[in-house]
């Protein structure tokens, strides 16, 4: 209640001072200073003042006890760590040794006629310097004010505080290390539910895109897709090694292509097209290979189910690609659902990335091995297609059929009729 009244009084005073602002720039500065003072006063009254300990001297720790060396302040984070370690809960009973210096708890002032020799550590309080300090000055959870006429011969470090140079002389360097800011982006941080929704939407979007590409590939390039898929199934390891080598060589090959084209006039003209085509082929190899892996997974799964007696409506390539993609996206679905969990989410994402890369490499390698589904050498099709017919059983022997001796013509037969064995 008292605080509220003070605020009202302070706000009521503002209009009284405000008209003076029209006088001159000097008056404006003065008025703004007054307003700033009032604002600081109001803020001080309405905010909860931290518990400031009663000023006291912190006695040196016994031998082997806590000690903080303040002779080098160039690594503020190291000093901060040392202080936090030496004084986890600073209080009047705390003990800390400052080599060649002293430690104080609470507010501390060096009077204008005083000269303090050695380093000074002030914990949980402001350090006001009016006189001379021949050494370094460190505050933890407090500000430093170097007033007009004051001298600090060494460095100043304010940990979680501020340094106000009000006209004093500071021989060394001044550093302030503030408390960490709110993590960047935390203001618009999404809730876990929103994160899950976003991740699921992303995963579903990618899945549908891949599904559409797969349907297109089955529709327009089914034989090639099947050959690449069979290559994945029958030459998995070989495909992986080929894909790995292909990934390594993709950039050098591109460089050689560019250099080779640049060396000739016609090549320079072709260069833009070659670059685009090369890029498209590389993307097609990776995406098509990945879809072929999905096809292979889906085919294997479907055949196993059918072998177990399941009655499936349409066991064809469309189904294989769809089933395979669902299988491949299970890990990404897990990431979409649990990706927001700090460590587990990262692990799941890493696993999903690793598996996706592995299978994309295999698919890329299979696409290279099979020359985009043209070559069947590694597809496990050891019997040539023409061998899968029984026509050879009916083939005419190479040297003809031995003729049968014409029977003697009897009285009841005529040459040229169905019963004539010579035909």
């Amino acid at each position: 209640m008292r605080t509220a009244r003070r605020i009202l009084v302070a706000l009521g005073l503002l209009p009284v001072w405000a008209p003076a602002a029209h006088a001159s720039p000097c008056a404006l500065r003065r008025v703004s200073g007054v307003i700033e003072t009032v604002r600081a006063f109001v803020v001080q009254q309405i905010t909860q003042a931290p518990d400031k300990p009663k000023p006291s001297t912190l006695e040196p720790a016994p031998a082997g006890g806590a000690s903080v060396d303040l002779s080098d302040l160039s690594r503020p984070e190291v000093i901060e760590r040392a202080l936090r370690s030496a004084l986890p809960a600073p209080g009047p009973d705390s003990r800390v040794t400052v080599p060649n210096g002293q430690a104080r708890l609470g507010e501390f002032t060096i009077g204008s006629a005083e000269t303090l020799t050695g380093h000074l550590l002030v914990i949980k309080g402001d350090a006001n310097v009016y006189g001379h300090l021949l050494g370094n000055l460190v505050t933890l959870d407090g500000d430093v004010r170097v007033h007009r006429g004051a001298v600090v011969s060494g460095d100043i470090l304010a940990l979680h505080g501020d340094v106000r140079d009000e006209g004093g002389e500071i021989g060394g360097e001044v550093r302030t290390l503030s408390v960490p800011m709110t993590p960047a982006g935390s203001g618009d941080a999404l809730s876990p539910l929103a994160l899950v929704g976003r991740s699921v939407a992303g995963a579903v979007g990618v899945f549908l895109t891949m599904l559409a590409l797969g349907v297109g590939l089955v529709t327009f390039a089914r034989p090639n897709l099947e050959v690449v898929s069979d290559t994945v199934s029958h030459s998995f390891g070989r495909s992986f090694v080929t894909g790995l080598i292909g990934q390594i060589l993709i950039l050098p090959t591109f460089g050689m292509l560019v250099v080779g084209l640049v060396l000739s006039v016609a090549g320079i003209l072709l260069l833009p097209f070659a670059v685009v085509v090369y890029g498209l082929l590389a993307i097609l190899g990776v995406v098509g290979g990945y879809l072929a892996v999905a096809h292979a997974i889906g085919e294997t799964y479907t055949r196993r189910r059918m072998a177990q007696g399941a009655a499936l409506v349409s066991p064809n390539s469309y189904r294989y690609v769809g089933v395979g993609l669902v299988g491949l996206f299970v890990l990404w679905a897990a990431w979409a659902l649990f990706g927001w969990v700090p460590v587990a989410g990262e692990i799941v994402r890493g696993a999903a990335v690793l598996v996706t890369w592995l299978l994309a490499t295999v698919g890329f390698g299979a696409a290279l091995l099979s020359r985009a589904g043209v070559r069947e050498s590694f597809a496990g099709r050891l019997i040539p297609p023409e061998a899968l017919t029984d026509e050879y059983l009916w083939a005419t022997p190479q040297f003809g059929v031995p003729a049968v001796r014409r029977p003697e013509a009897g009285p009841g037969t005529r040459p040229g009729t169905r019963h004539d064995p010579g035909r």
């Binding site: 503020p76 500071i170 001044v174 503030s178």
Partner: protein
């Protein structure tokens, strides 16, 4: 059951992990009559701005850094008048992946216009804006790394600068109003990227620049008032010599010999392009 309990415990522990934090750090040093300063700025990732400071402070740096991966650099060697400012990565050397979070680091460095300044800047994945106009720059060395850097001399340099050495990796570097720099010699080495050299500004003498570039798109902005001579050594590089007359490997402006202020460019470029714009 045990496994489930372990998983729950792991997740609870993981949930308690602190998020990445940006930490404010400020450092400055009062000017106590120093007449020279050797400043070295090291900045691995983020945004860096360098501007002239006040006459009462030798330097000041205001920094927000990623406390999980970097520590602030703030050292001063009084006998040598040498200051080192910036951030350095925690841990030893090795391959580092710069995340988007680290790129949010931000530093503003103010350098006093009073002492003679030797400036050595080393940048990593940085977006840098260095306004060196109005300082007393005697020597400049810039390693641009993989940065997008703009070096500008918005006002004439107060003293004569001996050399400016600039090297860029895969970077986009713009140096504006080089005429204000009063550097006798400018040496530039460029890797893959784009470079803009603006030789405008208040010229007080002739300048010489040596450029060695590879896979770089170079844009030269040349003042019409100056006599310009470009000695070109190029391989697979295009060159648009607008407004220049060729004499063998040398291109020069028609009134080069009679010009009061001359700019000599020795340009060596491989796989790239050189474009010239004339400015008033």
């Amino acid at each position: 059951m045990r496994a489930a309990g372990l998983c729950v415990a792991l997740l609870c522990w993981a949930g308690a992990l602190p998020a990445q934090t940006m930490r404010p750090f400020t450092t400055f040093r009062q000017l106590h009559g120093e007449n020279r300063l050797a400043a070295r700025l090291e900045f691995a990732a983020g945004r860096l701005r360098v501007v002239p400071g006040t006459v009462t402070e030798l330097y000041r740096m205001t920094l927000a850094y990623d406390a999980d991966r970097f520590v602030p650099l703030s050292r001063y060697d009084a006998p040598e008048n040498a200051a080192t400012l910036g951030v350095e990565p925690v841990g030893g050397p090795g391959l580092r992946v710069v995340s988007r979070h680290q790129l949010q680091q931000d530093a503003v460095v103010l350098l006093s216009p009073q002492p003679d300044l030797t400036l050595d800047v080393s940048l990593g994945a940085v977006e840098a804006d260095l306004d060196l106009g109005g300082l007393r720059l005697t020597e400049l060395r810039l390693e641009a790394g993989a940065s997008r850097s703009v070096v500008r001399f918005s006002q004439p340099n107060a003293v004569r600068c001996r050399t400016a050495d600039i090297s860029a990796g895969a970077a986009e570097v713009s140096i504006l109003k080089i005429g204000n720099s009063r550097c006798d010699q400018v040496r530039i080495e460029g890797g893959i990227g784009r470079m803009t050299l603006d030789f405008g500004g208040a010229w007080t003498g002739s300048q010489r620049a040596e450029l060695s570039l590879a896979v770089t798109e170079l844009r030269l902005r040349l003042p019409r008032q100056a006599g310009v001579r470009i000695t070109m050594d190029r391989f697979l590089a295009s060159f648009e010599p607008t407004g220049l007359v060729r004499r063998g490997n040398v291109w020069e402006t028609p009134g080069y010999e009679q010009a009061d202020r001359r700019l000599d460019l020795a340009l060596k470029t491989t796989v790239g392009g050189v474009r010239i714009d004339w400015t008033n």
